[in-house]
């Protein structure tokens, strides 16, 4: 596809032509082209899994030349980056979502790490500090360059990252969701800084979900969906409106990716009231602010939100305060208040939590299938503290055939299984605890379409048996496909509570990318659009 948007400018500083990238079993990018003019800010938008980060990793050399198809032309020359170092050498610098600063070192030390200024082989501290001060002034950070990184907040750390990039003589700055972890003021400051760099001739590529930011700073935008570039629009020429971006991001058919189901929904049995949670690493931040939600028997409830919106912390704080320390709030099961102080309390009260990351949080990879299946409720197959191996095997065998876990026997190590089958083992492990409420955190991430379909089927079967399901996901089609009702969460606030009949991708996308509470219907789109032009908060 061609890019008429930035075409008015002189020769582009960067052209990525027909980039394709495959991982085993997945085509992450197919024929994606983008072009960035000198001193332009180019936005890349797309859903999770659309291929944005992969594209940036191709550009920065994380995936070296030869592991992808297509050409990268930078300042008129074909580039063959072997690693990140070789792309930085020509002035392409990436700033990641999670920073790569060393907390125990000072600002100066971090800025010059790997490219220390030396005299006769000894670090020239005076010169480094002097240059660091200059760079900090440039990014508008008023801090002593000898301050340790750990004393800075996230927003200031990000500015240090940018100072570091400037030290490397950056020509093209890549920012991966730079404002995802920042508050309103810090975000605004950062956006202004990016605009300031533009004045100095630095081009930027910014990955962002936040549409108001895109409208504020970008010159053009490329929308990715399922590894394809859908379209590139000129923002400054007012080709862009929010609906168009959203449609481009989510516009795919939903049919037949989900098993059929007739929901049979009962009474509310699980209720959380005024729940407040602190961030596990930064206790001064609240990741959930006095929110309430409830789940009915037999109901599949979605929790839609971007990564970092507080979804996981919210769910895990309900699950025996296992992560994200809870501050205040009450949980009611069948109308009676319960206090869940530990994971074992939560399990005893019939709550199960399928974690986001199955290999680091869900499974002991040294175990075999049968050991994994019974591991969350060993008492069920034990007598007087002694495990009855016959019962254990019978239970695991039941799930192996019932969930169609592809393995020769339950003696197979879980490490040997594919992602989808590992996830089925994790599901079996939690089904074995006889949950009343099953919380699933991104249960289909990184598994193929066929296994996804089967996992949806398992979730639906559990609901049909009268359990409640809370499904956390950033894939909107998935939520729309199997949920009965969807909560959306943005920056720790529940922004909408929609029956699935009233939800559509556009409404959801809006509710998970803006702070304001969406109305129950999608009718007031026009009004909202004008409101969102103003910076959030």
């Amino acid at each position: 596809m061609t890019t008429d948007a930035a075409g008015a400018a002189p020769a582009p500083i960067l052209e990525m032509r027909r980039i394709s990238k495959e991982f085993p079993g997945v085509k992450a990018l197919s024929d994606v082209s983008i072009s960035v003019g000198p001193g332009q800010i180019h936005a890349v938008a797309g859903e999770n899994g659309a291929g944005k980060s992969t594209l940036m990793k191709v550009l920065s050399g994380v995936y070296p030349y030869g592991t992808y198809q297509g050409d990268i032309v930078y300042r008129g020359q074909l580039q063959r980056f072997r690693n990140v170092g070789s792309s930085e050498a020509v002035g392409i610098v990436t700033i990641h979502q999670e920073f790569a600063l060393i907390p125990e070192l000072s600002i100066t030390e971090n800025i010059f790490l790997g490219s220390e200024l030396t005299r006769a082989g000894v670090i020239d501290w005076d010169e480094e500090n002097r240059r660091a001060s200059e760079l900090l002034a440039l990014v508008g950070l008023n801090e002593d360059p000898q301050t340790q990184i750990k004393h800075l907040g996230v927003g200031k750390q990000q500015l240090v990252e940018i100072a570091r990039a400037l030290h490397k003589d950056v020509q093209l700055l890549i920012l991966d969701e730079p404002t995802a972890t920042l508050n309103g003021t810090d975000s605004q400051h950062l956006l202004e800084l990016i605009l300031g760099l533009k004045e100095r001739g630095v081009s930027s590529i910014i990955i962002s979900h936040k549409l108001n930011e895109i409208e504020q700073i970008a010159d053009s935008i490329t929308i990715l969906r399922d590894g394809h570039a859908i379209e590139t629009l000129n923002v400054k020429a007012h080709e862009v409106d929010e609906d168009r971006i959203i449609r481009g991001m989510v516009g795919r058919s939903l049919q037949s990716r989900f098993p059929d189901r007739t929901p049979r929904i009962g009474e509310v049995f699980f209720e959380v009231r005024d729940w407040t949670v602190r961030h596990p690493q930064a206790p001064e931040r609240l990741v959930c602010k006095s929110e309430s939600f409830s789940i009915r028997r037999g109901e599949i409830v979605g929790l839609a939100g971007l990564m970092g919106a507080g979804r996981t912390e919210l769910a895990m704080s309900v699950f025996g305060r296992s992560y994200g320390s809870y501050v205040s709030g009450q949980i009611f099961i069948d109308g009676r208040e319960v206090v869940l102080n530990s994971v074992s309390d939560a399990i005893a009260h019939g709550i199960a939590y399928v974690s986001e990351d199955r290999t680091t949080l869900g499974l002991n990879l040294l175990d075999d299938i049968k050991e994994s299946v019974v591991s969350a409720k060993l008492r069920k197959v034990a007598r007087a503290g002694v495990v009855d191996e016959a019962q254990e095997r019978r239970a695991a065998e039941g799930y192996r055939s019932g969930l169609r876990i592809k393995a020769p026997s339950v003696d197979e190590g879980v490490r040997q299984l594919s992602g989808g089958n590992q996830q089925k083992v994790v599901l079996a492990k939690w089904m074995f605890t006889d949950p009343q409420l099953l919380i699933l955190d991104e249960p289909t991430r990184g598994i193929d379409v066929g296994a996804k379909f089967e996992i949806y089927g398992i979730i639906q079967r559990l609901a049909a048996q009268g359990s409640g399901v809370l499904l956390i996901s950033s894939e909107l089609p998935e939520l729309l496909g199997i949920c009965d009702r969807i909560y959306t969460i943005f920056e720790g606030r529940i922004t909408a509570d929609l029956p699935v009949s009233q939800a559509d991708p556009e409404t959801l996308m809006r509710s998970i990318t803006t702070t304001q509470r969406a109305q129950q219907t999608a009718h007031q789109t026009a009004q909202k659009k004008t409101q969102q032009k103003a910076p959030t908060r």
């Binding site: 990140v84 170092g85 790569a100 490490r415």
Partner: protein, 433 residues
């Protein structure tokens, strides 16, 4: 489900003779090879009854330490304090018998109590404060060595020679001696052991068939039982024909009982499962409702109690407790555990493997000294054996496991992720990778 009536011979079935694990197959093979090697080189002195008695009595305490140590290492910790704890418990036992004139059973219990208190202290720091066990037990190593010398005034305290306490360190079973050449109690023990082996095989197969598990071909069970019976009969004969008044040593009997008991604990009980779970992936264990603090507390406390018991066996055998007792024991125990196939990162290891690993060291020590090799060279050889044993293990694992190959492939796709400056490291947790 593969058929239990499999007819063809598969090489892999050989491994099942020792229970299916390649690691244990290797280490057991190594032990047998070393025994044969020294038996030939020493001209038959290695398997001489008197040498065997010395071997068992002189090493039982280290092997018992290895039992506790493997649990600590499976849970992902280490205990450097066992030698000092053993010495501390030992001196208190010696004083209670020598100066306070306590009857030995009470002294024995007092020593175990000391171990329990020490273990609770170390377990508290490891499990509830969260100080790494390496640090806690390094401190413990100093604290309890000093405590031993403080209590004993840095001198030895001897036990009354006639005290029957000695039997746990160097005692033998009674012999009715009905005019037979062989020691009868040893023979009876041997017969019981053989009966146990046969019963176990029968039970295993019967249960396996009932559960629909692949029990393997019948010949595997038969060969396994036959091998075990041969080893037991041979050992029984050798121990039974020792000098008058000797039998299979009581220290060895205690070891066997502890191995059986702790193997059961590790393999069959909930607490055992939890120890493996905490060592294998403590985050997943925590999210499965395992109370990991209790588990950590238990393994640390258990280790100190076992260390105290090992100290008592030593005092009983030496009939004295001194300021230098137990120095270096922790290293022998840790080496035994790693030679026996445990993983430094936790989650992997077996009681039996560790004891076999300890026997490898013991036979090596014994055989080399029989050959007149000086202790400096013995240390060098032991160090190399540890390195090679674990090196072979690591190498074969890195070749065999598909997951590690997969991990290498993933690295090959992103080779810069490891060598690039820190600000460019690829973040795999990016929002849409």
């Amino acid at each position: 489900m593969s058929a239990p009536d499999q007819k063809t011979f598969r090489f892999g079935d050989l491994r099942r003779i020792v229970g299916g694990s390649g690691r244990q197959f290797g280490i057991l093979g190594a032990l047998i090879a070393i025994v044969i090697f020294f038996q030939v080189l020493t001209g038959g002195k290695t398997l001489d009854p008197i040498n065997l008695l010395n071997l068992v009595n002189g090493n039982a305490y280290v092997l018992i330490l290895a039992i506790g140590m493997v649990l600590v290492i499976i849970a992902g910790h280490i205990d450097l304090s066992v030698g000092s704890v053993a010495a501390f418990a030992g001196i208190i036992v010696a004083i209670s018998v020598n100066q306070w004139h306590w009857p030995w059973p009470f002294a024995l219990l007092l020593g175990l109590g000391v171990g329990a208190v020490v273990g609770a202290w170390q377990g508290f720091w490891v499990a509830y404060v969260g100080v790494p066990a390496f640090i806690v037990t390094l401190a413990g190593m100093l604290i309890f060595r000093g405590a031993n010398q403080f209590v004993g005034n840095s001198t030895s305290v001897s036990l009354p020679a006639s005290d029957s306490f000695a039997f746990i360190g160097s005692g033998y079973l009674p012999d009715p001696a009905w005019g037979v050449q062989l020691n009868l109690s040893t023979v009876i023990l041997g017969i019981l052991a053989i009966g146990g082996v046969v019963a176990r095989e029968v039970l295993l197969r019967r249960r396996g068939r009932r559960m629909g598990a692949d029990a393997g071909p019948l010949w595997v069970a038969v060969v396994r039982a036959a091998l075990l019976i041969a080893v037991i009969s041979g050992a029984t004969y050798l121990f039974a024909k020792g000098p008058l008044g000797t039998s299979f040593p009581i220290a060895g009997l205690i070891l066997v009982v502890l191995v059986l008991g702790y193997s059961f604990l590790a393999n069959r009980t909930i607490i055992g499962r939890h120890i493996y779970a905490v060592g294998g992936n403590w985050r997943a264990a925590e999210l499965s409702g395992v109370r990991i603090r209790r588990v950590n507390f238990f393994v640390m406390m258990n280790m100190s109690v076992i260390a105290a018991f090992a100290g008592e066996m030593w005092v009983a055998r030496a009939a004295a407790s001194g300021p230098g007792d137990g120095i270096g024991w922790e290293l022998d125990a840790i080496a035994a555990v790693f030679i026996g196939g445990a993983a430094v990162s936790g989650g992997i290891g077996t009681i039996v493997g560790s004891v076999v690993g300890g026997l490898v060291i013991a036979v090596l020590n014994n055989g080399l000294s029989l050959l007149g090799v000086s202790s400096d060279r013995v240390q060098i050889i032991k160090g190399l054996v540890l390195l090679v044993a674990v090196g072979v293990d690591v190498y074969s694992k890195s070749r065999g496991r598909p997951s590690i190959i997969a991990r290498l492939q993933r690295r090959a796709l992103a080779p810069t992720a490891e060598v690039s400056p820190p600000d460019t490291v690829a973040h795999d947790k990016g929002s849409d990778s």
